[in-house]
Assembly symmetry: C2
């Protein structure tokens, strides 16, 4: 098989070729010059996809909920793509998808595209690879993209929080661990879902969460003055509350589309991404500099405690400026 170049792949992807989409995502994920080329090609073609981030603690039932949301969206005849960021996976892409039950359901449906991305090995890089992957899906014509992440690491929470609408999934009866988590999650959540709402402790969970939301609002969180995230009860395994979750997402979408907040958020994200790209390039330069044999002496001096890392850093930075 002849290797298609990025330009051909983009054309095929826009013509509905799902394999071309998968290949572009692999290029975007791998980084380096080909990723930049893909990025430059798809950037002007996008801007229509709406992104929904789905995050929450491990085991909260995010995958099952996402699957149910997919089914409902497909039943309406709309196309949809899912990026599942998997922190426990050392691999990504197609090879890993065999594990996922969802693929069994959707494998024969061309209107659904599901893709796993490994977060391991991507520290930093993931926050660039994800918007890039979203733009590939956007350019390929998917009007809706779900980005599912495990809300443990800060990178994962940030990625889900960088969506147009962010859904945070919780469970009843988790007690303190989730209490501690809330503070950080409330800031990114546009919609809360208490999944497994058939289990005991739902009312306490809802009350605690509502209290935490009100508290954050009272602390003067500017976002919460505009939009207070609703709490939706659901049982994904039993298919309950799914329409209500979609309705809450739609409400939030109307809200941010109506008041200019969507445009403002997207502009801010682009600014962050620009900064991230600049930082990665500077990092590469710093890596080259520190690896330079001119600085071998610094390492020895630090080891023998003749200098400390801060003074050493100043020497390196001075060299960078020359």
């Amino acid at each position: 098989v002849r290797r298609a170049n990025p330009e051909e792949l983009v054309a095929s992807a826009r013509g509905g070729d799902r394999l071309a989409v998968a290949r572009l995502l692999s290029l975007a994920e791998r980084g380096g010059a080909p990723a930049v080329e893909v990025g430059r090609l798809v950037y002007p073609l996008g801007g229509r996809a709406y992104t929904v981030g789905i995050t929450g603690a491990p085991g909260a039932g995010k995958s099952t909920l996402t699957d149910r949301l997919l089914q409902r969206v497909r039943a309406r005849g709309e196309e949809v793509a899912v990026l599942a960021i998997d922190p426990s996976s050392p691999k990504s892409g197609g090879a890993f998808l065999g594990d996922r039950v969802r693929m069994q359901d959707h494998a024969t449906d061309g209107g659904v595209f599901v893709r796993s991305m490994a977060s391991r090995g991507h520290l930093g890089g993931l926050s660039l690879a994800t918007p890039e992957a979203i733009r590939v899906l956007d350019a390929a014509g998917f009007p809706l993209v779900f980005v599912e992440t495990v809300g443990v690491g800060q990178v994962e929470i940030e990625i889900a929080g960088a969506a147009d609408t962010t859904v945070v999934v919780m469970n009843p009866g988790w007690g303190d661990s989730i209490q501690a988590n809330k503070a950080g999650l409330i800031e990114v959540a546009d919609v809360f879902v208490i999944n497994r709402a058939d289990r005991p402790g739902v009312e306490e969970a809802r009350r605690d969460l509502q209290w935490a939301i009100d508290q954050t609002a009272a602390d003067g969180d500017a976002g919460l003055a505009e939009w207070k995230p609703p709490i939706v009860l659901a049982s994904a395994t039993q298919g309950q509350g799914i329409d209500e979750v979609l309705a809450a997402i739609a409400d939030h979408r109307s809200h941010v589309e109506g008041n200019g907040e969507l445009e403002r958020r997207r502009a801010e994200r682009l600014g962050d991404e620009l900064e991230e790209i600049v930082v990665r390039r500077l990092e590469r330069r710093a890596h080259e500099l520190v690896g330079d044999q001119r600085f071998d002496r610094l390492r020895t001096d630090m080891l023998e405690r003749r200098t400390d890392p801060y003074s050493a850093a100043e020497e390196v930075l001075a060299a960078l400026e020359k």
Copy 2:
């Protein structure tokens, strides 16, 4: 109370004042100029502490195991400090310690020092704050420092992996999720502990893990040719296997001290840290640059798809070089 300056705090900490140690850790953790000042003061005073990283999935029983190890070390009359990196905690330091059972046990023992550090809000910063905190404890005279992290996020795994000896804690019967994790954890592990070894599935877990270690070794992992991590069975809650864990740590320590590996690892970590400090400073500069009103136009151009983030980044970098 008059605020002591860092110099006075270091002198007090070295005289055995635990409150002074706690204050220095707060300064180190908060970052900025005072952290650098503390870093410069303690750096030449250290170099004697041996660090042991303890990591593993949430709920694997790391805290209980660490507590048992502490008790055993204390029973031998040795002093020991613990840094517990808590990813779910929005706070750090003293306020959060009330939650930890261990503090009840050790609160009146001056030979033990336990400290929580929040990983939230520290993305990147944590990898600088942790070695800094270790050096404070080192300068205060603790010959042994445990660094306990939840092995979910890559930052946490890297931090535990940056210890002189790294212990990875697992449980029997976790199936696939742990399977997926192994690949990344094997590379950082010097000692494996299968905790809760009184539960069913221990033999399968041991066999699977041994297979994964052999596999990684067969793939040509250079570290594994030198040292194959032993697998220790333990039940921390029942106090079983604790001496065996300590013996495995001691074995690994003799190994790396004997063959020069310890020195090599520490030199490499110092190099990484130096690079990290340089990168953080460059990041700050990039942030200022991107925020500069000269570049407001770039954001608008990106939003309106007249330019893409990569071309925009090149403009910013060109300005940085001038």
